[in-house]
Amino acid sequence: MVYWIALGAAGVAIPLERAVHARVFFTLGTLGGLLLTGVGLAGLSGWPQSAVLGLGLPDLPFHVRIDPLSSFFLLLLGAAGAAVSAFSAEYFQRGGGGEIRLVCLLYHVFLAAMTMVLIADDAYLFMLAWETMALASYFLVITDHRIAEIRRAGFIYFLVAHLGAIAILLAFGLLQLGQWDYTFEAMRNTSLGTQWSAAVFVLALIGFGAKAGFLPLHVWLPEAHPAAPSPVSALMSGVMLKTAIYGFLRVSFDLLQNQVWWWGVVALAVGLATAFYGAVFAALQTDMKRLLAYSSIENIGIVLAGAGLALVFHAYGMDLLAALALAATLLHCLNHALFKTLLFLATGAVMHATSQRSLGKLGGLIRRMPWVAGLALIGTLAIAGLPPLNGFVSEWLLFQSFLLSPSLPNSYLNMFIPIGTALLALAVALSSYVMVKFFGIVFLGLPREESLHEAHDIGLAARIAMGWLALWCVLIGLAPVLFLRTLDPVFQTLVGTGLRDSLARSNWTFLTAVAPEQASYSALAFLLVIVLVIVIVAMLLRRWFPVDRRRAPAWDCGFGKLDARMQDSAEGYGQPVKQIFQVFLRLERHHPSPFDRQPRYHSRIEDPVWERLYLPVARGVERLASIIGAVQHGRIAIYLVYSFVTLLLLLVVIL
């Protein structure tokens, strides 16, 4: 099975000549994704399978292993990847971006690298796959490398990715501590001291955080996502961020043995801060892909907060609660992969149809693109955390596990974690603000540009792709219990206790947290009752009050001529958030004077992290570089002198 995945992924990666027919290859890629989904599902129930591949360097063969945790992420990769491939088959047909063959190659290398990251069982293969993934995605980001802005975005991404990779490398170095055995198996069996474990944890948090976009390391995300072609953004945001979460979980739950409670607290705090920050900034964006990128930061923050909570519970030996928090975490990973991919594909469709990315130039597309709008609505409702869809399930579970935190035997945590919950609630509520803004401005209202009247809907392949993702959103939303039961082995592996017993205490339509009398939720009942009430009400009204219906121009409080420019712009919609959370922003604003004949309003929002963290560091590096630069002269003779002196010194010292 393992061999098959590696071969299959590689086989898909081979570029054939007539790449113009992107259709063929990306469709093949879809098949690969579907197979991977199947493998993931199968792997969830099975025992861990491992193999040693005779590839790689001499004496350093590749170890691969599929356990429930990697199976779960393979499932995620497969489900999202299949949809993105199907969508790409249509998207890349109509040009846009660079050389199609190159894109095809990189795209599949990217997919294969992510697969390898998930199944790698030694640090060497892991890092190799990790870097391949980073490189492939970097080249995909700069597909349109003729635009300077995109090159800059790519550079920032590359830089942060490398910082992260160094931290991960150091973490693995510490993990093997003197044994020189880089397999994960060996790492699992070494028990490090408390300090070394803590160091590994912090390094892993930084390293994987750089890829996932935890708070101070998130800067590349809102730059790189808009720069990349939409299917690639979908894949990066939907799946690649999750590989970082996978790595974090793998290191902190699986490879490290003695978890300490404050690790969880650190992760929790960083996660909550990230979630809040992402939500506020997402509300202010005027570019639809940047908006989604910030929303990804928010969701990753939620995931990290869940993982942190699970760590706290696990460290105190409360494994059932840890499993509950972990269930919320993993489910939210998958959910985010599904609905964020769906929404990025929707932006791809919109961009294809209108060649606009700015929210200020869209609007009213629900009438031109009913398919995209309908499917995007499902994604929007799901990501806004509304029942009966999947986003609500994971958030509900997470809130439940937060509510159970008072049973922790630490009175400080008892009191602080609930207040953290409020921050989470704020982030979640703001995210529904953000998503109303996104959907409302893109799809509802009047078209803000003339050209939007010519927008066209997506074709069959894209419909299937987006429909597949929407179907997952609905199914997981309606039957979370069935799905969580299949995930049970993952919890068993990571924290030693599953949720099977507590889930089995009521039937599959009711999701419960630990005990049914404590809390339960049934999405199916929600959906059934809502649909039933709608049908009954509609029928009764039609029978009892038969009335005429008439179409007329919008009333608008009787103000008269309605024009598309009178609607809220994206900027206007975000204004209240800007006003309230001003403290957290770096705002540059210019208000025109009331007597100005040609008033111009100008406002720019910058990430304060740049100003406070990155620029000082960059200046420091520059200064250091200029000092070092003093020894550089460019003349060969001088470099020879350097080598000569070094040689002499070495001779003197050693002999």
Binding site: S411, Y412, M415, F416, I419, V583
Partner: protein, 221 residues
């Protein structure tokens, strides 16, 4: 009177103390602040009374009387007169970044609750649960003194701190020894008089009650 019920009443009053402490922290108007202070004194008196009734502690009755006269009637009256004489009736000051201050206060509450937890477990009084609240009220009053610039508000903060201390004493050991209590009461009274005189002096010298005027230390201009 059943014991758990009394305990609950005391808890309720303690919670009110905390609420008033928060309200004082957020209150911008000077006159309202003094009213709140009087209210806090009243709650304190009531609390002491409940303890005195339940435990039949005669010296606590003395505290009750002292509290009632001093903190509910005399001190607020003095303060209000000062405010009137200085023409500050409508005075309000801007309290910088209020949400942040409130969050700091919440952290203080959590901190003092946790610090008080082991102490109150040791104490055998029925009021032991309220020790954390007393401590929190004290810290919040302190925080209020830090965040204010106007001298009168700072004095109110100081007096609120004294209230909290008294409350802490009642909850931990059913009040301080009589002598100490009398001494403190006298101190507070005299202190308030002196503060009152100071207000006029400050005002005459600087034309303002903003304590920033006092921050320039001697001679350096």
């Amino acid at each position: 009177m059943s014991s758990p019920f009394v305990g609950q009443v005391i808890d309720l009053l303690a919670a009110l103390m905390l609420l008033i402490a928060f309200a004082m922290l957020a209150q911008r108007r000077l006159l309202r602040l003094i009213h709140l202070f009087a209210l806090q004194g009243a709650v304190l008196t009531l609390n002491t009374m409940v303890v005195a009734v339940t435990l039949v502690q005669s010296h606590l009755w003395f505290s009750v009387a002292l509290n009632l006269v001093l903190k509910v009637i005399v001190l607020p009256m003095i303060l209000i007169r000062v405010v009137n004489r200085l023409g500050l009736r409508r005075d309000a000051e801007s309290v910088g970044n209020l949400p942040f201050i409130m969050l700091v206060a919440v952290v203080l509450v959590i901190l003092s609750f946790n610090v008080a937890l082991p102490i109150s477990r040791l104490a055998g009084t029925i009021t032991r649960g309220t020790l954390g609240i007393a401590m929190a009220s004290m810290l919040i009053a302190f925080l209020m003194m830090i965040t204010r610039r106007k001298a009168v508000a700072q004095v109110v903060g100081f007096l609120a701190m004294e209230n909290a201390l008294f409350f802490a004493a009642t909850s931990a050991t059913y009040g301080m020894p009589m002598v100490v209590e009398l001494g403190i009461a006298l101190d507070v009274l005299v202190g308030t008089f002196i503060f009152g005189i100071f207000f006029f002096q400050i005002r005459e010298t600087f034309d303002s009650l903003d304590t920033r005027s006092l921050e320039r230390l001697g001679g350096r201009e």
